[in-house]
């Protein structure tokens, strides 16, 4: 058997291993995606099981719907702040815990532990801690030091940011672990050379550490942004979208329209728009970060 034939056969055999995953992907990802896109042009609902083609009506309605606008606004604020805060805290934390401290393993565990909890559990836990009733532990603490109660989850202007705090608490440790792994891969030679040159701490950070952390910055910010855009469970458990509609996010509105109100066609249109939103944000983010990486190196 000649080499070309053998290589071809071997490639076919190797590609066959991909087939089960490919079939699964087509059935569970691509097919529902196409189906959702088709539904989005129909009036399909619980009352209209025999759907009718209505063109782009669902899309037009979407941008006139106040609750959809609130959902998009809240999600964008949440995702942006989540990405910024989580990473701004995780980097110094990782640098601190990369130092030869005696307690560093214990501290790493403490900071990472919240990430293994379910967001639902975290939500229920924090909603009790932040409660404005007499049982709210945080307000008990504030009262003990002579401060007033804060209506963490009951104030429409504050509730979204209170939820954000709990999520920063939960995920900063996760981002920190990724930065730590990256930091440990940076050669000590760079720092020794900088030390010999008499570089100051900020110069060492901005000229050595930060550029070499860029791959994990890209990964963490993209993940945080996508996670922030998809947020649902923690908000569901902490406020249920309230008070009023004040903490409703895109996914929550999507579930309300598509499932609770059984407007499957309308919900599908929202899902399509949302998918494009995530794709665009991820694409732009990666492009910007890649450019930044190229510039720094």
């Amino acid at each position: 058997m000649n080499t070309t034939k053998w290589n071809f056969r071997r490639n076919v055999v190797f590609q066959l291993f991909v087939l089960p995953a490919l079939i699964g992907y087509l059935i569970f990802y691509i097919y529902p995606l196409i189906q959702t896109a088709i539904y989005s042009f129909t009036n399909y609902s619980m009352y209209h099981p025999n759907m009718k083609w209505i063109g782009i009506d669902n899309y037009i309605r979407l941008f006139k719907d106040d609750t959809v606008i609130i959902g998009i606004k809240n999600t964008v604020i949440y995702a942006l702040l989540m990405t910024l805060l989580q990473n701004a805290l995780a980097i110094p934390l990782a640098i601190a815990l990369n130092r030869p401290l005696k307690s560093r393993n214990g501290l790493r565990l403490v900071f990472f532990a919240p990430a293994v909890l379910s967001p639902l559990v975290v939500g229920f836990l924090w909603s009790y801690l932040m409660s404005s009733s007499d049982y709210g532990l945080i307000n008990q603490g504030l009262r003990a030091i002579g401060l007033n109660n804060v209506n963490w989850l009951g104030n429409p202007k504050l509730a979204l940011y209170s939820i954000l705090l709990t999520q920063v608490w939960q995920w900063t440790g996760y981002a920190m672990i990724i930065y730590l792994a990256n930091l440990q891969g940076i050669s000590k030679d760079y720092y020794e050379a900088a030390s010999i040159d008499g570089a100051k701490a900020w110069t060492v950070f901005s000229k050595i550490t930060l550029p070499l952390l860029l791959p994990s910055i890209s990964f963490n910010t993209v993940m945080a942004m996508i996670g922030g855009l998809k947020v649902f469970d923690v908000i569901f458990s902490m406020t249920g979208g309230g008070p009023g509609h004040s903490t409703e996010t895109i996914v929550m509105t999507l579930i309300n329209k598509g499932i609770t109100e059984s407007q499957f066609g309308y919900g599908s249109a929202f899902a399509v728009v949302f998918s494009f939103m995530i794709m665009i944000v991820a694409f732009v983010q990666l492009k910007v970060l890649n450019k930044w990486e190229a510039k720094l190196f």
């Binding site: 609902s45 619980m46 009352y47 099981p49 909603s127 009790y128 932040m130 409660s131 404005s132 009733s133 007499d134 049982y135 709210g136 109660n149 209506n151 963490w152 989850l153 009951g154 104030n155 429409p156 406020t239 249920g240 979208g241 309230g242 008070p243 009023g244 509609h245 004040s246 579930i255 499932i259 609770t260 109100e261 059984s262 407007q263 309308y266």
Partner: protein
Amino acid sequence: MFTAILSACGGNEGNKAGDNTEPTSPSANDNTEKATVKIIGFNKEEVRKTYLELLRQQFPNYDIQYQFVDNKQFTNVVTTYLASGEGPDIIEGADARWIAAGYLEDLTSQPFVSKYYETGLKSSTINGKVYAIPLQSWFEGIWYNKDIFTQHNLTPPKSFDEWMDLHDKLRAVGVKPQAMGAKSWEPMDKQAMGVALNDFYSKPENKDFDEKFGKGEVTLSEAWLPAFTKWDETIAKKNLTPDMLGVEYDQALDEFATGKAAMWESGPWAYDTMIQKNPDLKLGMFPIPGTAEGSGWLVGGPGSAWALNKNAKNKDAALKVLDFTSTPEAQAALIKDSFGTSFLKGADNSELPEQYSDSKSAFDEGNVYAPWANWGMLSGADLILELGKQLQDHLAGGTSIEEVLKNTDKKAQEIRDSMK
């Protein structure tokens, strides 16, 4: 419309009929295989404990499974089940949308349906077809701590102004007047509607308002505004405060049960939990008062019911369970764990327990009603949820009470349009 729930269920006629309503369903002893009967409900299992035990005794060859889903997500969960052609055999409630979509079995011709009074069947009857059998009635009023009231020489109020004064008096002696878990949409909806029941629904000319509202012929903002404006005094007087928006139902229950607040709004299903938390608690319940002095109104009615999934896997077994539920024995078991009255002809409705004695005249006058149950296709959870969200926004200082009702009307129209 306002037929008294108690009068519908009590009386001699019922007792006579009782002879004919002995358990008629055959037990499943003749079955060789154990069939699973799945029931899904928004009441916790302990609220159905005695009834479920009775079912398991009656049907030893059935595996009776009960699934509790919190009210917040109940409609979503059941809708998803039904839309996928799956789901439990027996479902609590008969959402008008499930009926419209053909997910629920038409029970009209089942012999057990005729054993119930029409008042109980009304909310689950659409176009003359019955889709669910009523369980015991539910009602909700204002629980109060009798010890606190006695200690400060206070009595349950007869009018809304008296109720507001009561809050002031309690505050003056350093007692928090009212606990409220306004994080849930329910309590404010019900308190505001309670005033509307006194001031609007009690007038004969408004007796068909809800049916008309369901069809879009009238609006809430025109009809309910005076009553809701009256209720709004409770916010102006800071009896309901924005910090309550950060409090859960269970936390408000705790606050009241441990004596940290003098009043709390809920129903009989909370009684056992409160007594477990504080066995020394002496409780009473008074109805929500209106502008004029009177007996007050309780929010409630035949809200809870068993419907049959059209795609039930064990329809025959489920029908036998529904048949057995339509016996005085099963009704008594339901009432044992959550007090209410039965709509079954011949059911021996027990005496009103002592804790509800302040509500007796409201019961006697038939002052128990839940408007949304008669909104036809709008009677699902969506609209009352929206009203609750609007009221939350109002309590937080976001919208006026007029806007609350206008926005709810807007949502009602959106739902009607989506059905066209």
